[in-house]
Amino acid sequence: MREALDQWDFVIAAYAIGVGGTLATVTWSWLAMVRAEARSRKARGR
């Protein structure tokens, strides 16, 4: 007997994970860069 699979469930899951993972990496790398550059400026001024 064949399983009844809704193909859209798989498409939505793949898009949620793919887009979520990419956006999380972009946000994390941007925030880490801003923090590191602020720390560097502070170390120069201290």
């Binding site: 798989f10 498409v11 793949a14 898009y15 972009v26 790398s29 590191a36 720390r39 560097s40």
Partner: protein, 243 residues
């Protein structure tokens, strides 16, 4: 190329290139994924699941492209000893690992409705999993080398040796029997219909710009951390009383 190995010149360029890559990348990716989700027709064989193509293929290409970048940067570091080359390899490692993981996850999700299984231990999937483990090992090795203050030569040699896996991934579907389809796009040829090919190329360009933006942001963060640490160390030495 040697001119860009100067950190000041690199920062001058990266300051405007980082937001440009990320902004344009977000715009192109959103457009291509929207096109792939709502405009592209379902495929005759794969049905609606063909839409996963617009995520899975760019992730796979950038996962492999990322390691190629690590290998080239490692070679530049070993030959010319440019510290920025070692930094660029470290900058590529995290987004490369993330995109490889996303390729494996989206591929697994695609495999269930099309192959009837989440995973098979065939040449393509296994060599891609090996690439993910190589990225993990590289990140650990490069972080340990930076923390201990030792030369980046060992991670660079590892980066070069790991590149052996790239042609294996590429040729795996030709060399061994696999559930995975053979290459659809080769040099100058494509077996993909234009209705799928155009949004695929745009999404690949968008994800490539995002990848480039993330690498630049990582490099700027690593450079700033190194500079801050060097300044604090210098100041601590100046404050230390002479014996």
């Amino acid at each position: 190329m040697h001119g860009f190995a100067n950190p000041t010149r690199f920062l001058r360029l990266a300051r405007w290139l980082t937001p440009l890559c990320l902004g344009l990348g977000l715009l192109l990716t959103a457009g291509a994924l929207g096109w792939g989700l709502f405009v592209v027709p379902p495929d005759r064989l794969m049905g609606e699941t063909v839409r996963i193509l617009f995520l899975h293929v760019p992730f796979a290409w950038l996962g492999m492209g990322g390691w190629t970048g690590i290998a080239l940067s490692s070679l530049a570091y070993l030959v010319w000893r440019h510290p920025l080359a070692a930094l660029s390899a470290r900058g590529i490692a995290v987004p490369g690992a993330v995109f490889t993981a996303l390729c494996l996850i989206t591929g697994s999700i695609w495999g269930r409705p099309t192959w009837g299984t989440w995973w098979v231990w065939d040449g393509r999937l296994t060599s891609m999993l090996v690439l993910f483990f190589l990225y993990m090992a590289y990140i650990a090795l490069a972080q340990a080398a930076a923390r201990e203050g030792v030369s980046a030569r060992i991670p660079a040699i590892f980066g070069l040796l790991g590149a052996i896996n790239i042609p294996i991934i590429n040729r795996s579907v030709v060399w061994w029997n696999s559930l995975h389809q053979p290459p659809s796009i080769t040099m100058g040829k494509s077996a993909i219909d234009a209705a799928f090919l155009v949004p695929l190329l745009i999404s690949t360009l968008g994800f490539s710009l995002l990848f480039g933006g993330i690498v630049l942001a990582r490099m700027r963060a690593l450079l700033a951390e190194t500079q801050a640490e060097a300044r604090l160390r210098r100041k601590a030495l100046e404050l230390e009383p002479a014996v």
